[in-house]
C-alpha cells in the first residue's frame, strides 16, 4: 500500500470518528428514490426508507400525501334500493398517509407530541369542511380512514427495523391509484418518549410521459381534447371499415 493511500484512510477515519456537532447527525435518513414517476405502466411502487442513528432509540416514519378536501357518503336503503344518503366533507385530508414505527405509537411517544405532529390515524385533524361538529361527523371520519386503509392509501405499521441500534429501514408501499403532488417523509428519533432529532424528505409524485401529457391536455384544453378524441374515433372507425371491407 502506498503512503498516499494510507494517509487517505487515516483522514477518512478521523473525519468519521469526529464527535457529532449538535443534533443534526444524530439522525440521517434517505429514500431509495425522491421521486415517483407515474408512467402509463404504473402499477404501484415500493420505496426503501433507510438511515442511521447514533445509538438506541425509537423511530417513527410518517409519509404524507398532498392535502385536499374529501367527501364521504353513506348509503341508505330507500324502498329496497341502496342510494347515496347523507355525506360529510372534510378539509386537509392527506391523500396518502403512511405511519411506520419501531413499536406501538403510544408506547414510544407522548400523546401531546403525537397530536401536535398528527402522527397516527387517531391524530389526523381533518376538520369538517361544512362547519359541522366533530361529534356529528365522527362516523364519517372513521369510515374514511377505514376506506382509505382498504385501498392502501392509509397504513399504520410497526414495520421499522433497526439493526445494531445504528441502522434502520422500512419500506413504504405506494399503490397504483396514487394521487400526484408533493409528498413529505418525516423521520423522528425519540428516546424515552422525547424527540431527539427529526428529518424531512420531499418526494415528488408526478405523472410522466404520455399519461401526463394526456391528463394535462384533457384538463387544460378540454374542448380541443374532446375534438381530438372524436377525430381519433372517426379515423379508427373508418380504418376498421376499410381494412375489413373485403370478406
Amino acid at each position: 500500500m502506498t503512503m498516499r493511500a494510507i494517509l487517505a484512510l487515516v483522514v477518512a477515519a478521523l473525519v468519521l470518528a469526529r464527535p457529532a456537532p449538535g443534533a443534526a447527525t444524530q439522525l440521517v435518513a434517505d429514500l431509495s428514490s425522491r421521486e415517483i414517476a407515474i408512467t402509463t405502466g404504473f402499477a404501484g411502487t415500493e420505496l426503501l426508507l433507510f438511515g442511521a442513528v447514533d445509538g438506541p432509540g425509537d423511530i417513527i416514519v410518517v409519509v404524507r400525501g398532498p392535502r385536499r378536501d374529501q367527501i364521504v357518503r353513506r348509503k341508505v336503503e330507500v324502498a329496497g334500493i341502496w342510494i347515496n344518503g347523507p355525506s360529510a366533507r372534510f378539509a386537509d385530508v392527506p391523500a396518502f398517509y403512511w405511519v411506520a414505527s419501531t413499536g406501538p405509537l403510544t408506547d414510544i411517544a407522548e400523546p401531546a407530541f403525537l397530536a401536535e405532529r398528527e402522527i397516527g390515524f387517531a391524530q389526523l385533524r381533518m376538520p369538517s369542511a361544512d362547519g359541522r361538529s366533530a361529534a356529528a361527523t365522527a362516523p364519517f371520519r372513521t369510515a374514511m380512514v377505514r376506506l382509505k386503509d382498504r385501498v392502501d392509501l392509509y397504513e399504520e405499521t410497526t414495520g421499522v427495523v433497526v439493526a445494531a441500534d445504528r441502522l434502520f429501514r422500512t419500506s413504504v408501499v405506494f399503490p397504483a391509484n396514487l394521487p400526484t403532488g408533493d409528498y413529505r417523509a418525516e423521520v423522528y428519533l425519540l428516546r424515552d418518549k422525547r424527540l431527539v432529532s427529526t428529518e424531512t424528505i420531499v418526494i415528488d409524485v408526478h405523472r410522466v410521459g404520455l399519461g401526463a401529457r394526456i391528463h394535462g391536455f384533457a384538463t387544460r384544453d378540454a374542448a380541443l381534447y374532446g375534438i381530438m378524441a372524436i377525430a381519433i374515433a372517426l379515423v379508427a372507425g373508418w380504418l376498421a371499415g376499410v381494412i375489413f371491407r373485403k370478406g
Binding site: R74, K148, I232, W238
Partner: protein
C-alpha cells in the same frame, strides 16, 4: 400487462380490456347493435369510475358506428333527411343529458341514476326481445307463414303538425315525432354512455313506421353525431373521456365485431335475437343486484364532489 388510464387514474390489465372490447364487439357484430349498453356496465364492474365509463364509452361508440354506418351508406340504406331530423333532436337531448349528468354528479346521485336507467332499459328491451323472438319462432312453425304486413300503420302521433316527407323511408309524418325520439335517445346517450341504437331501432320501426332496410343505417348515421356530441360535452364539462381506455376498447371491439359478423351468417335470426335478449336480461339482473344487495360497507369515498 397493466396499462395506466390517465383520466380514470388507475391501472387496468390491457388483456382484460381487449377481451372486454372483443367480447362486446363480437356481440355487436353478431346482433348489429352498438354494444354500448353492455360495455358501460361491464366497465363499471371492473372498477372504472361510472362517470369515466360513460364518457369514454360514448367515444368508443363513435368509432363503432362509423364503420357500421359506412357499410350501410355504400348500400344506400341511410335516410339522410330522417337522420338529420333525428339528429337535431339528438343534439338537444344530449345537451340536456350532459347537463343533467353534471347536476346529478354534483349532488352525488349519478351512480344511482345510471344504474336505475340500465335496469329499466335493459329489463324492458331484454324482455321484448325474448318475447318477440319466441313469437316469431312459434309463427314460423305454423303453416301459412307470417301474416302480410301493411307498409306501415298510421297512429294518431303521425298526424301532429309540421308534416314532412321522407322519401327514402316512404313516409309523410309529423317532424315532431322523429324529433322527440331523437331528444329521448340523446338524453339516454348522455346519461348511460350508449349510442341508443337498441332503443332507436325499435322506435323507428314501431313508432315511426320506417322500413326495416333503412332503419339500422339511419340509426348508425345519427348515432355517430349524437355520441360525438356527447363525447365533446363530457370532455368539456366533466373531463371524463379517457382516450387511452377508448383506444384499447376500439381495437378490441373492431376485431370482435368482424368475427361476430361472420359468425352471424351461420345462425338463425330468431335464435340470435332470443340469445341477445337473454344476455341483455343477464346484465340487467347483475346491475339490479348492485342496487338491491346490502353493500359490504355503507360508507363510500365520494367522487363527484370534484377534486
Amino acid at each position: 400487462m397493466q396499462i395506466y388510464l390517465p383520466i380514470a387514474e388507475m391501472s387496468v390489465d390491457t388483456l382484460l380490456l381487449l377481451a372486454l372490447g372483443g367480447g362486446v364487439g363480437l356481440l355487436s357484430g353478431l346482433f348489429g347493435v352498438g354494444g354500448g349498453f353492455l360495455m358501460t356496465p361491464l366497465l363499471i364492474f371492473i372498477g372504472i369510475p361510472p362517470a369515466v365509463a360513460v364518457g369514454t364509452e360514448a367515444n368508443q361508440v363513435v368509432a363503432a358506428s362509423v364503420s357500421g354506418a359506412l357499410a350501410h351508406w355504400r348500400r344506400g340504406n341511410v335516410d339522410v333527411k330522417m337522420g338529420f331530423v333525428l339528429l337535431v333532436g339528438g343534439i338537444v337531448g344530449s345537451m340536456l343529458g350532459v347537463w343533467l349528468f353534471t347536476f346529478l354528479r354534483s349532488i352525488g346521485q349519478v351512480e344511482l341514476v345510471i344504474a336505475v336507467s340500465y335496469v329499466v332499459m335493459l329489463g324492458v328491451i331484454g324482455t321484448l326481445m325474448v318475447v318477440e323472438s319466441l313469437r316469431a319462432w312459434l309463427q314460423s312453425r305454423r303453416p301459412g307463414g307470417a301474416p302480410v304486413r301493411k307498409l306501415h300503420q298510421h297512429i294518431w302521433l303521425h298526424g301532429l303538425p309540421f308534416k314532412m316527407r321522407f322519401r327514402r323511408s316512404k313516409l309523410y309524418i309529423s317532424a315532431l315525432l322523429p324529433l322527440g325520439v331523437g331528444v329521448f335517445v340523446g338524453i339516454l346517450a348522455a346519461i348511460m354512455g350508449v349510442g341508443g341504437g337498441f332503443i332507436m331501432v325499435p322506435a323507428m320501426i314501431y313508432l315511426l313506421g320506417m322500413p326495416t332496410s333503412v332503419v339500422v343505417g339511419t340509426s348508425l348515421f345519427q348515432i355517430i353525431f349524437v355520441t360525438a356530441n356527447v363525447t365533446f360535452l363530457q370532455a368539456v364539462s366533466n373531463q371524463t373521456v379517457d382516450i387511452v381506455l377508448a383506444l384499447v376498447l376500439i381495437v378490441g371491439s373492431v376485431i370482435g365485431a368482424q368475427i361476430g359478423a361472420r359468425l352471424g351468417d351461420r345462425l338463425h335470426s330468431e335464435q340470435l335475437r332470443a340469445l341477445l335478449g337473454l344476455i341483455v336480461l343477464a346484465v340487467c339482473v347483475r346491475v339490479a343486484f348492485t342496487l338491491f344487495a346490502t353493500p359490504d360497507d355503507v360508507y363510500m369515498l365520494g367522487g363527484g364532489g370534484g377534486p
